[in-house]
């Protein structure tokens, strides 16, 4: 039993916004470009930070690196999210029924939960492992999970076009 009815998605796909996404010559490629740009910022910044937590370049301060990457993570997420929602609306019924989309959304949710755990439980202890010290095991697990999840999200996203 789907959470949201097919009829709802069909009505969404018939909306003027969805029609504009599909039928304008440039809106779709523009949104795809913004989506890739957003992903590049988001994924790039996440990878740089996660690798540091995993134990690479321990001469870099974790807290300072976090200050550097955080705005780029959020900028990238905002761009990818907004363009992703619009692309989804362009063909909502098909996308909602696509297994790769469903898997991708669940993975994004898991990545968000993982980030929330890191933010609330692990980052507050950063002073103890900010420089030249291995991060605690839990933080390394969280960083590894984050890498694996975001990498899988990229793959699931790319497979949307190949799965019905």
């Amino acid at each position: 039993m789907p959470l949201i009815s097919d009829e709802f998605w069909e009505r969404a796909a018939a909306s003027p916004l969805a029609v504009a996404v599909r039928e304008s010559i440039w809106v779709y490629p523009f949104l795809e470009t913004v989506h890739v740009l957003g992903l590049a910022l988001l994924f790039g910044a996440i990878v740089a930070f996660d690798l540091r937590v995993l134990g690479f370049s321990t001469a870099l301060s974790v807290s300072r690196l976090w200050q550097h990457v955080k705005p780029w993570i959020w900028t990238g997420f905002a761009l990818a999210f907004a363009s992703g929602v619009l692309l989804f609306i362009g063909d909502a019924a098909d996308f909602a029924a696509n297994p790769a989309v469903q898997v991708k959304l669940v993975l994004i949710l898991l990545a968000g939960l993982n980030a929330a755990v890191f933010e609330t439980r692990l980052r507050p202890t950063v002073a103890a492992w900010d420089l030249d010290t291995p991060a605690p095991r839990a933080a390394r697990i969280s960083a590894g999970l984050s890498l694996a999840l975001w990498f899988s999200i990229l793959i699931a996203g790319r497979l949307i076009a190949y799965i019905k």
Partner: protein
């Protein structure tokens, strides 16, 4: 550190394997259509969805309605397949690759519009 390296090599290994994932190609096209067979049809266009990322239109051929997939709006316009020529009622001869699942669907190779232009949209199904 060794754990980190292990994880990194795992991620890189997966990245190298990704091209082997099912359906990897430049395009979804090759996963849907069988590039080793070409068929030719003549019929009348009954409806057109002139949309991104791919234009679809239907062609009535005898008692069968074929769904034909072709390029994006900008690529189609570049080839001259505008909404002025691809419209309901147009008599067309089309060549393309049949759907792998056996449904009456075709990936468009070329189209010739009666009283209008002929164009090759795509040379291979890859």
């Amino acid at each position: 550190m060794s754990r980190a390296r292990l994880l990194l090599s795992l991620v890189i290994g997966l990245a190298l394997l990704a091209p082997l994932a099912p359906g990897h190609a430049h395009h979804t096209f090759v996963t849907k259509f069988d590039g080793s067979k070409t068929i030719r049809l003549a019929g009348v266009v009954t409806s057109v969805s002139y949309s991104n990322p791919h234009i679809h239109f239907q062609v009535q051929v005898g008692g069968t309605t074929w769904t034909v997939e072709t390029e994006s709006i900008s690529a189609a316009r570049g080839h001259g397949l505008t909404q002025n020529v691809l419209k309901a009622g147009a008599k067309v001869t089309i060549a393309g690759w049949p759907a792998r699942d056996g449904s009456p669907a075709l990936g468009l190779h070329s189209i010739s519009i009666s009283g209008g232009p002929s164009m090759t949209m795509r040379r291979t199904a890859h």
